[in-house]
Point group: C2
Chain length 497, copies 2
C-alpha cells in the first residue's frame, strides 16, 4: 500500500508530532498501570509524573513553529488523510490555546479535591460535603465554555470537547424524541412482560477463574489477539486503552455473582478495542490514528454489547461454555440466559440500568447540566431536581444521595458535557444494526460464532478511517445518514414487545 | 524533618529537573511493562516511544540554561545533599555532552541489530553470524571511550560509566588477588568436599503456584511492602525497577525444577529493591534519590542472596514453608536445603555458577574486554581466547559457542565495562557481613526471621544516602574502608572449608 502522507509540510508536522505521540503513549501506559498494577502508595510519584508529562505535551502542541507549520498546511492542496491531520491538530491547538495555564492548574486542583470530597460524601451519604465543590465545578465549566467560545449556549462549547461538531440543540432534539417514545414504551414493556423484571440468574455466584475462562473463550471467538496485540486484565472499573494500533488492552471485573456483568463488560470493552485495533496501520504515530470521538467510540462498544452480546443467538453460542464452567447452569436454558441478559426494570443507578431505560438516565443528567450552565441553578438545588426528574421519568425516587445525585464520579472529575455521548453510542449501535443487516445475516453469523464478516464491515465502514473525518462526516460516509433515534426505538420495539 | 534542599539555585535546578525525572519515571514504567506485560507486537510502537523520550530527556539535560544553573551552583556554599545534586547532574551533563547525536543513533542501530544477530548465532551455535557485529561493538566501545576521555587506558572511561570513579588498575589488582587466592581454594573445596558438587534437589520438579507461595512467604518475612509500595511479577530474566521511592517492583521466574533458582532470584532482587525503598523520602523527585552505582547496587542484592539466602539459618527458616508446599521435601532435611543452596562445581555458564567460582567468570570477561580495547584483539580470535582462559581458570572447556563466548547478551547490547560491577557487589557483600557482625548477631536474627535490625543497619549505613556521595566515599562513610577482596576470601574459607 502506498504511504498516505506525501506532502512535505505534513511530513515535517508529523516528524515534530512524534514526541507528542510518544508522551501520549507513555501517559496511556502510566494510566493503565495505575488502574491495573500500581501498588497503592505509588500514587504520589505517579501523579507528579503524569502532571509533568501533560504540561510537556501541551508545550509541544503550542510551540510557535509547530503552530506555524499547521497554519501553513491549511492553505495547501492535500489528500484526505493529510487534511485529517491538519483538522485534528488545528482542533488540538485551538483547545490547548484556549485555556490559560493558571486555569488548568485550578481545574486540576479543584477536581482532585472534589473527587476526594465526592468519595467521602458518597460513603457517608452526606451531600453537604460535596455541595461547595459542585458549585466550584459548575463555575469552572462555565469559565471553560467562555474560554472556548460558543454560538448558542455554553453547553455547546463543552459538548464539542467530547463530540466534535455536535450542537446542544441537536441533543435536545434527540432526547425530546427519546423521551416521547421511550416513556410509553417502557410502560408497555412492563405490562406485556415479554422480558421479565427479574431473573434468578442475577443471584447465582461464581468463582473468578470460572468466568475468566468464559471471557477468554468469548474473546477468542471474537478473534481478539490476546498476547499478540492485546490483553485482558482486571480493574475496579472496566476500561479500554490503546498504546498504539498494535497494543490495545481491555479490563473487566469479577464481582462473584450476576455473571452477566463481567461478560457484557468484556464484550463492551472488546468493541472499543476493536475500533483501535482495526485502524489503518499507515496512520501509526500520527494524530489521525485512533477513534474520532467518544460518541463514535461508544457506538462500537454498544454495538458489541447490545446488538451482539444481548442477542438470542449469542446466548445460544455461549451457553455450552457457560454450562461447562458454571455448575448452576445445568438448571437453566439458553432462553434463560437470553432473558437474563435482557431484563427491563427501572433502576435508580445508571450503571445498573437496562438498555431501554438507560437513555433516560442520560437525559436526566443532560437536563441538569444545562440548568447549571444556563439557568444559574446551584448545587444545593440539584438533589431535589434530580429526584423529581427521576420520579417523572422512571417513576422511582432515590431515598439516599448515594443512589441519586452522588452516584456518578463524572462531575467530581470536572466532566460536564460528556454524558450525552453514552446515548449517542447506544442509538448509533442500533442504527448500524439495520444497516449491517442489509449486507449480512447478522443473527446467523452470531449463531455460528463467525464474527469476521461483522468485523470486516465495521472496519471498512468506520474503523479504518481513524480520525480523518469529523464524526458527522464519518457517519455520512459510513451509512449515508445522520444519527437518527428512530432506529433505536424500532430495535427496542422489535426486541422487547 | 527539615527539608534537605535549602539553596535557591538548587531549588531552581530541581524544579527544572522535575520533567527529566518524569520522563525517567515514564521510561521505567515502559521498560517494566515491556518485560512483564506487553503483547509481543507492541514492540514497534513501544521502541519508538522509548527512543523519542530518551532524546527528549537528553535535550532537557543539555539545555543551556540548565547547564548554566548547574555550573553556577558549583561555586556556591552548599550542604552535602545539595553538593550531591550538583555532582550527579554535572556527571550526567558531562556524559550526555560527550556523545554526538549521530554516534548515539549509530549505537542504537548497531546494538539493536547485533542483539538480533546474537540471538540467531546463539540459537544456531554459529559464531560467524555474530562476529562482524562484535567487531562493530568493539569499535563503538573504543570510540565511546575516546569521546569520554581517560587517563590511563580506554577501559577506564567505560568502567566509570557503571561505577563512578573506579579505575581499571584497581580492578586489575582486585582480580589478581582473587585469581591468586581462589584457584587453589576451589581445588581444596573440591577435595575436602564439605559442600557437595551435586544434589538430588536440583532435579526435583515443582508447580509455579507452589513456589510462588514460598516466594511470597519469604518476601513477607523480609517485610517487603507488597501491594503497598511494591510488586512481585514474572519475567524471562528477573530484574528490579524503581518508579520512585514508593513504587519498587521485582520479578522472578519459575522454571519448574531446581527451586533454588527462583528463591535466590527473588531474594537477590529483594536486595536491590530494598536499597531503593529505604531512600530518604526528602530526596523524592531529585537526582540523588536512588542507588549510586551498579557495584553498590549489586552489593545489596548479593548480600541478601549470598550472606542471608545461602546461610544455614535461612535454610532452617524456610524449611517448614518448603515442606508445606513441596511434597518431595518430606525426603529432605534443612541441612539438605543448605547444601543444595551452596553446591560448588565449575560450570561453563556464568549464570549457573556457584558463589565461589562466579568471580572467575567475571575475571575472564574483564580480561577479554581489555584485550579488545587495548590490544586490538578482533572478534574472530575471541572464542579461542575465551575457551583457553576458561580451561586455565576452571579446568573446563566449552564445546559449543553457546556455552562459551555467546552465552551473555551484554556485548550484543553494547555493554562493555559492566561485568566487573558483578564482582564488586559480591566482594562488598562479604565485606559488609564482617562489619555488620560487629553490631548484630546476624545468624541469630536470620534464624528468628527478624530482619528489621539488618534492614535498619543497611538503611543507616548505605540506603538512606541515596546518590549523595560517590561510591568510594559512601563506602568510607559506611564501613570506614575501601573495597577489600580479603573479606570475601575469608568468608569463602569459613563457609566452604
Amino acid at each position: 500500500m502506498e504511504p498516505v502522507f506525501q506532502n512535505e509540510t505534513i511530513k515535517g508536522i508529523l516528524s515534530r508530532y512524534r514526541r507528542i505521540w510518544a508522551i501520549n503513549h507513555a501517559q496511556s501506559v502510566l494510566g493503565w498501570d495505575m488502574e491495573v498494577n500500581m501498588p497503592k502508595e505509588g500514587i504520589l510519584e505517579r501523579s507528579v509524573a503524569q502532571g509533568e508529562l501533560s504540561v510537556l505535551s501541551q508545550e509541544f502542541i503550542l510551540k510557535p513553529d509547530f503552530i506555524e507549520l499547521v497554519e501553513k498546511a491549511k492553505g495547501l492542496e492535500l489528500n484526505e488523510y493529510e487534511r485529517g491531520v491538519v483538522r485534528v491538530l488545528d482542533r488540538e491547538i485551538r483547545i490547548s490555546k484556549a485555556f490559560p495555564p493558571e486555569f488548568l492548574r485550578e481545574v486540576s486542583e479543584v477536581t482532585s479535591q472534589a473527587t476526594k470530597a465526592w468519595e467521602e460524601a458518597k460513603k457517608g451519604d452526606d451531600f453537604s460535603k460535596f455541595e461547595p465543590w459542585l458549585d466550584k465545578i459548575i463555575d469552572l465549566a462555565k469559565r471553560a465554555a467562555d474560554y472556548l467560545g460558543y454560538e448558542d449556549e455554553p453547553y455547546d462549547a463543552l459538548l464539542d470537547l467530547y463530540e466534535e461538531g455536535l450542537r446542544t440543540k441537536e441533543v435536545v432534539g434527540m432526547f425530546d424524541e427519546l423521551e416521547r417514545e421511550l416513556r410509553p414504551l417502557i410502560e408497555k414493556i412492563m405490562e406485556e412482560g415479554k422480558v421479565p423484571r427479574e431473573h434468578p440468574l442475577e443471584k447465582e455466584k461464581y468463582e473468578k477463574e470460572q468466568m475468566e475462562r468464559v471471557n477468554l473463550w468469548i474473546l477468542q471467538k471474537f478473534g481478539f489477539p490476546l498476547g499478540v496485540r492485546s490483553r485482558l486484565d482486571v480493574s475496579a472499573h472496566p476500561f479500554t486503552t490503546e498504546f498504539g494500533i498494535r497494543d490495545v488492552r481491555i479490563t473487566t471485573r469479577y464481582e462473584g455473582y450476576d455473571f452477566r456483568r463481567t461478560i457484557l463488560s468484556t464484550v463492551h470493552e472488546f468493541g472499543h478495542a476493536l475500533y483501535e485495533l482495526q485502524q489503518d496501520e499507515r496512520f501509526m504515530f500520527s494524530p489521525i490514528a485512533g477513534g474520532v470521538s467518544l460518541g463514535i467510540h461508544e457506538s462500537q462498544s454498544r454495538f458489541w454489547e447490545n446488538i451482539i452480546g444481548r442477542s438470542k443467538e449469542f446466548a445460544g453460542l455461549i451457553y455450552p461454555v457457560l454450562k461447562e464452567n458454571l455448575p448452576f447452569m445445568a438448571n437453566y436454558t439458553p432462553e434463560d440466559v437470553y432473558l437474563y441478559f435482557n431484563l427491563v426494570r427501572p433502576d435508580l443507578i445508571r450503571t445498573e440500568a437496562d438498555v431501554v431505560t438507560y437513555n433516560l438516565h442520560i437525559l436526566l443528567r443532560f437536563k441538569l447540566e444545562r440548568m447549571m450552565l444556563n439557568e444559574g441553578v446551584k448545587a444545593r438545588d440539584l438533589p431535589e431536581l434530580w429526584n423529581e426528574e427521576m420520579e417523572r421519568l422512571l417513576g422511582i425516587r432515590p431515598k439516599t444521595y448515594a443512589e441519586g445525585i452522588l452516584q456518578d464520579i463524572h462531575w467530581a472529575h470536572g466532566t460536564v458535557g460528556y454524558f450525552p455521548t453514552y446515548s449517542i453510542g447506544t442509538l448509533l449501535a442500533a442504527q448500524y444494526y439495520y444497516h449491517i443487516k442489509r449486507d449480512l445475516n447478522v443473527e446467523e453469523l452470531i449463531a455460528q460464532g463467525n464474527f469476521e464478516p461483522i468485523k470486516a464491515w465495521l472496519r471498512e465502514k468506520i474503523h479504518r478511517w481513524g480520525s480523518i473525518y469529523p464524526p458527522k462526516e464519518l457517519l455520512k460516509k459510513a451509512i449515508g445518514e445522520e444519527l437518527d433515534p428512530e432506529y433505536f426505538i424500532r430495535w427496542v420495539k422489535e426486541r422487547y414487545l
